[in-house]
Symmetry: C2
Subunit: 202 residues, 2 copies
DNA sequence: GTCTATAATACGATAGAC
DNA sequence: GTCTATCGTATTATAGAC
């Protein structure tokens, strides 16, 4: 056994574990403040480690952000594929797949920063590296809806539009306004029903 | 007459004119890079003046950003009110007002940074001042759709969702991908038809 | 695997001249 | 009305110890 104090022993992780912990923290911080607004020090504090170690693990802030949105996109697609498979296994093959994908999208709101960090990336289209990754990621979702789920262009457009409104309400932290504003309450009810409680700010 | 060289005379404006010129430049820069990503120096260069003068005119970067999104929201509402009045003047009072507001929304894409700077604000809900202004602005649009245009909650939700998808495609600069990606071309066609040419990146 | 110390730079804001 | 010069600070990234 090592002679280090127990506290320090507990805090050491493998590189893989630490990497995941940093991605969790970075997802929340980038989702709230955006690529430029978030600092590697905020990510480090959220992850309970030092700022230089965050940079060391991913090489640069940009590489960390790209890893965050790559993981968010992968989570989303994995969740969609699982929901689609379940739905098909229940013999609903002639119905509307969006009825299975919509609830899956809302459930992902429990995982912090998935929707908002993707959305922050979507707003950086003019950045060479981030913009390309963001467009590719968005188009991968489009391709899933069209090719794997077999949804028509018009229905896929409607599904994505609903998703983008949900993302905006998450970015706005709209539940913060719902206690004092009847309009906010009505908007949240019309968009999310009782699932509005899953939004940031609730 | 002043004895200053003509070049300098031409470049001098009243405070009001200069204020508008700075807001135009700031709208484009904030729209592309977001509140934190944009620098007051980038705004200054785009406006053809010095960085300290930008700060002097608005007091702070935050005050400038708040002025940008306030003006963008006002432009949008003004455009909506005009379109609604025109539509009603043509005796279409029993149809769907969204058929008049949709085209008005797309026409605003010609004014640089309106959609994207608002969208960048919507993603800063956790910021005390910007978040409050963003939520209030969004709810003012909602109130217009519901109270002035008389649109149902469900239809207003659908209209906003379509708008948010358009904003995301603008933030992504999706036309950049349309030449090499059939999926991008299909997505743009399904969402905007031939109006996709108005998006940034086209 | 993780830290402290620090270098290098970029940025917002102020002071003051013209 | 507008500029130049500059201060103070925040931030990314590196070096090197343990």
């Amino acid at each position: 056994m090592s002679s280090l104090p127990v506290e320090q022993l507990d805090r050491r992780m493998t590189a893989v574990e630490r990497r995941e912990a940093i991605l969790d923290a970075a997802s929340a911080v980038f989702g709230e403040r955006g690529y430029f607004g978030a600092t590697t020090d905020q990510v480090a504090r959220a992850a309970g480690i030092s700022q230089p170690y965050v940079v060391r693990m991913f090489g640069s802030k940009e590489a960390l952000f790209l890893a965050v949105i790559e993981r968010a996109k992968a989570s989303l697609l994995q969740s969609f594929r699982a929901a689609l498979a379940d739905w098909r296994a229940q013999g609903a093959a002639d119905g509307d797949p969006c009825e299975a994908l919509g609830p899956a999208y809302l459930e992902m709101l429990r995982e912090r920063g998935v929707h908002t960090s993707l959305m922050q990336a979507f707003m950086q289209g003019s950045d060479p590296a981030i913009g390309r990754a963001a467009r590719d990621g968005f188009l991968e979702i489009w391709g899933f809806l069209r090719d794997e789920a077999g949804i028509s262009p018009e229905a896929a457009r409607g599904f994505l539009a609903d998703g983008m409104l949900i993302n905006v309400l998450a970015g706005l932290e709209m539940p913060r306004a719902a206690t004092s504003s009847a309009a906010a309450a009505e908007l949240l009810a019309a968009t999310l029903g009782d699932k509005a409680a899953l939004l940031p700010g609730a």
